[in-house]
Amino acid sequence: MRLAAWIFALLAVPAQAAPSEFSAPLDITPEQPGVFHQLDSAGRKHIAVSGDTVAVVWEQSRGGVSQVTVAFKPLSANVFSLLRVSGGATAGVPVVAPLGGGRFLLAWEQDGDLHARAAEAAALGPAVRLAQKASQPSLAVLDGKIVAVWSEERAGYPRIRIAHLILDGQRVSVDGAVRDVDVAPPKAEQLYPDVALTPAGVSVAWEDRREGHTMLLHTFSKDGRCFSKPKILNEQPTKRSEVYGKGTGAARVALARHGKRGIVAMWLDKRNFLEGYDVYAGFARDGTRFGRNEKVQDDFGGNISQWHAALAADSRGRVAVVWDDDRDGTADLWLAWPKGAGQWSESQPVPIASGPGQQSSPAITFDAAGNLHLIWVERETLEAPTRLRYAVGRSLYN
């Protein structure tokens, strides 16, 4: 019986935990005077692994002008090669998704419009405009299906839109019509969407302001065309006042496929206003209906705000959440993973991204072997130039 319990425990661990042993960090780009890196896109999908290549995409500003850059590295190499992705006067909020075989899809905003292009280490495909007056794209890819979501100005408000994309060689194009994920008449802003694909269909979540405060809504579609009525993702606390204000805040939802059929969502949540933003998550085991919200960080992070939370999950059931907070005086990266039954691990500082200076704005992804690839922005002070760093957390369970 005891032996059976041990075997069960060993088998169960990889499906839940994300412990990793991090390598020494690499500079993707070094610090340069007057140059600032931003990792601030919808879903924080700034890093992806395709085949044996890792790609990182970010916004880089200098003199008040931003452009988008992508960096590639073979998993076994120690140096990234960089390519400029965007053109125009200014560009930002880029995301990347893996297409397999070392190929990637990039999407970003450029001069107020939404663009996309395929990419691989040696070259970029042609840039294609997907939408006008649009921003905050996110992407999902599964078994040859590619979907993009974004926030687009429609009838006076930003609305969440979805398109199926196809690739003809290196050229990206929209397959069929671009649709609203919410058919209700526009009433307020819909922002920062994220999307996930499962064999069951398409899930989309976003920030919605129709009730006079920011709520997170999610919807599901079997075919990616006809979506269910949106439901509230972040549980609403009891209203503190019938008189003042409309409700609590929430921000920057991320979605990822979890296991064979499920979805995990993660976001910043201000339901406890004394704690600033906390990190919350929810699981939809069947890919359509979310269970109870789960608090991700431990109590030590309770009296301060968490920021820039990022999510990684995979088809084997691994989940990891990383964020920054300054519980130790300056911003450090912290990591947590689900332990099952609604419980999460204690928040663990990422040792290579802790210590003096500011380590913030992380993004993460798993590779096929369960290794956790991590990027973040590092700077000496909040006013100093930044550098973009990368490290890989080797899975302890493979």
């Binding site: 007057g34 930002g92 006042s241 008189v243 600033g276 705000s305 040792p351 802790s354």
Partner: protein, 229 residues
């Protein structure tokens, strides 16, 4: 989990059955600074500082304990008038942060920065009960360049360094984790004073005396108010 076991966890990282080598680095920072078990979760919070800044004995003393704080919250929730949203108060010429910085430099004027959030109850209360005062409006419009930032917004702004960030990221930099947060800035954006939570007309007038009168150059706000009630 108790605070004691949490602290014990830090001492034994990487050796337990988590088999987790994420060892806490030799810390140069204060350990346990934010432990909920070590102190009231409210003491020192922006909300408490906001209450304390009301200058009332009741506000300060209420924040000394958890129960007292919630009593204060309940008191705040009572007896007020309806308002739909917490956005910038009406009829105030608020600018974005970067526009405000440009104007402040051009006019050599200090900045009054308001961090709000859509739906924020205490922003709403401050708007209705303080910013509705015509004399306060005249005072602040005359003395400051007014800047409003939405604490959840992805709207872009450019810092004097050339860095482009969102309004939400500005809140990260200014540690505006609860709303409202009010800050008084030099024309170059350097913070003079910052306070969180509901502020009365008197509070705003006190801060104006402290900032516009240049008193901040010689003393902190607490000392100033003690000497100039």
């Amino acid at each position: 989990m108790s605070g004691a076991s949490k602290q014990g966890r830090f001492a034994s990282l990487g050796t337990a059955n988590d088999a987790f080598p994420l060892r806490r680095p030799a810390s140069r920072k204060s350990p346990g600074r934010t432990s909920l078990c070590a102190r009231s979760p409210l003491r020192g919070s922006p909300i408490c500082r906001g209450f304390a800044s009301l200058g009332t004995a009741i506000g300060t003393s209420l924040c000394r304990g958890f129960v007292g704080f919630w009593l204060a919250v309940a008191l705040l929730a009572l007896g007020a008038a309806p308002l739909a949203r917490a956005e910038p108060p009406e009829n105030y010429p608020f600018l974005s942060y970067d526009e405000g910085l440009k104007q402040a430099r051009a006019q050599d004027k200090r900045i009054f920065l308001y961090f709000g959030r859509l739906g924020c109850g205490w922003c709403d209360k401050t708007n209705k009960e303080s910013f509705s005062d015509p004399a306060l409006r005249a005072l602040y419009v005359t003395h400051y360049v007014l800047v409003y930032a939405d604490a959840e917004s992805g709207k872009r702004l450019t810092l004097p360094s050339g860095e482009r960030i969102t309004e939400m990221e500005l809140g990260v930099r200014m540690k505006a984790f609860a709303t409202p947060v009010f800050a008084w800035l030099e024309p170059d954006g350097k913070t003079i004073a910052k306070v969180a939570g509901v502020q009365t007309v008197k509070d705003f007038r006190d801060y104006d005396r402290f900032v516009h009168g240049g008193e901040y150059r010689a003393k902190d706000f607490k000392q100033f108010i003690a000497e100039n009630p």
